[in-house]
Subunit: 135 residues, 5 copies
């Protein structure tokens, strides 16, 4: 779990204590590269953040299969705090010999969010951008 | 069918009664993860909302085939309250051995909207984002 | 050819005569789901609108092959009133066994626009969004 | 090479001399459908514009293979006036039996820009939007 | 490593000393076409910029395999100065006979950024846009 203020500081290559000067402008949220991995041994990943009074958003950008993935359909589903119809929502169906990756415009999710490997054994890599602002 | 005000409240992790403080800013619509499933037994899904004086939009993000889908072309069509040429509009053609999923920038639809599995037996999963605002 | 004011009215589920109250705000254009079909028997479709003093835009969102399409390359080309180099512009190459559909961010076109099936016999389905505003 | 002011005029179906009334608003740039073709006989295409004091941008939207393309990998590269590392940049790798087309969100390029067919004999079709404004 | 002020100048085809007149408007950042190549001999590429008091962003647009790439899965991973979970993040899985390229909406990265060919021997081409502004 990232410490947003420090990230922001490093991200802009300056003193952590200046963080407020950044996020105080709603136009300029702090953006951190994010990634997780789902495998047979760890089929679920929970993205959550500290209760730090900041607004956090996760934009999923890509889901990729690893070179070791078996030739089977891998289905990734996501569950947010509020999901309509109260069920996990599949967002990707990938297979090494057919479609090894997908690129998203940016599926916006608000933490806490749970990613689950519904089918397949992975490895499956999810990449995205974690935005933080004082909105 | 989601109760928008409660969703909004949970989404932001606070008291439902504070909902008005959120949606009163047109810049900050409430966004809920949405999903539905189309199968041989339930080839049609209707997305509709309460007449709650709020503006609702659905942005389709992905359409994925399930691991059990047969190797046939699955065609998903959509029908909105107003559709030009008065016919359902196909928006996806997927096949497990060729293209098991598609990612959209965000096909904007206004409820009520009907999704129908025109070809194939599924399961087909549709994901999206349900935006609610007091625009 | 859609009657924009009526569509707008239905779209918002209210009295057609209130249309002006909607489109008078440039921020809130009216958006209608649009679709057309290209087949061996009807390889060309012309998208045009009434001379209604409104600004019309068409955003192409998806092009999909139908389940009956033969396994050949289908090439869809488009011609706008003004096209550079004065030639139709191919925008999609699809084949059932290779790539049965494509999703666009939104190819913006201004009517009148002509879609033509340059190769293949279809059916090919084109979906999009027809925006109307009093810009 | 397009004569921007005339295109703009035709685009809005009015007298060329009224062009200034359009492009004078930075919010409303003029958008012209653009396309070019790369083949064995013409592997290079240069997109350039008149020195007309207007700002020109080209947004690449799709790259498609033609029905006559051989089953080989077609690599399209682009070179702008300023390209980092001073080398052409490959932006597409397509093959009829694997991936016959690609859709872009919109790769922004500023003229003069050179497209070159680095591998393959085409035909390869590039589509895009040519924006012109008095920014 | 690009000298941003000169690039900006050339980009607009004018005297380098006029650069400040461009980037002084936050609305109009300078955009330079960017590309790099990953191969067996050079599996890593570092994108970094001078400490020039300007804000730099890199938007990844496409990742393509070269015609010489072997038929194996190529996995490209990226590492930013701040990456959550402190691990490189895979952003692409490509294979010549399955998926030879991918198009992104624009994965935003802030220098310094390291691209690494985790699997496969390439050549792999990464294209993007390097934005510079005085934000």
């Amino acid at each position: 779990m990232v410490n947003s203020s420090e990230s922001a500081a490093f991200l802009y290559g300056m003193d952590p204590f200046n963080f407020s000067t950044i996020s105080s402008t709603q136009e300029d949220p702090v953006c951190v590269l994010w990634g997780c991995e789902l495998t047979r041994g760890a089929k679920t990943f929970v993205f959550e953040v500290q209760n730090d009074l900041l607004e956090h958003q996760l934009f999923i950008k890509t889901i990729c299969l690893g070179a070791e993935a078996k030739d089977e359909l891998h289905v990734v589903e996501v569950e947010a705090k509020i999901t309509q119809n109260d069920r996990p929502v599949p967002i990707a169906s990938l297979r090494p010999s057919v479609l090894p990756m997908v690129s998203f415009y940016g599926l916006e999710l608000m933490p806490p969010v749970t990613f689950n490997l519904r089918s397949g054994e992975g490895p499956v890599y999810i990449s995205g951008q974690h935005l933080v602002c004082e909105c």
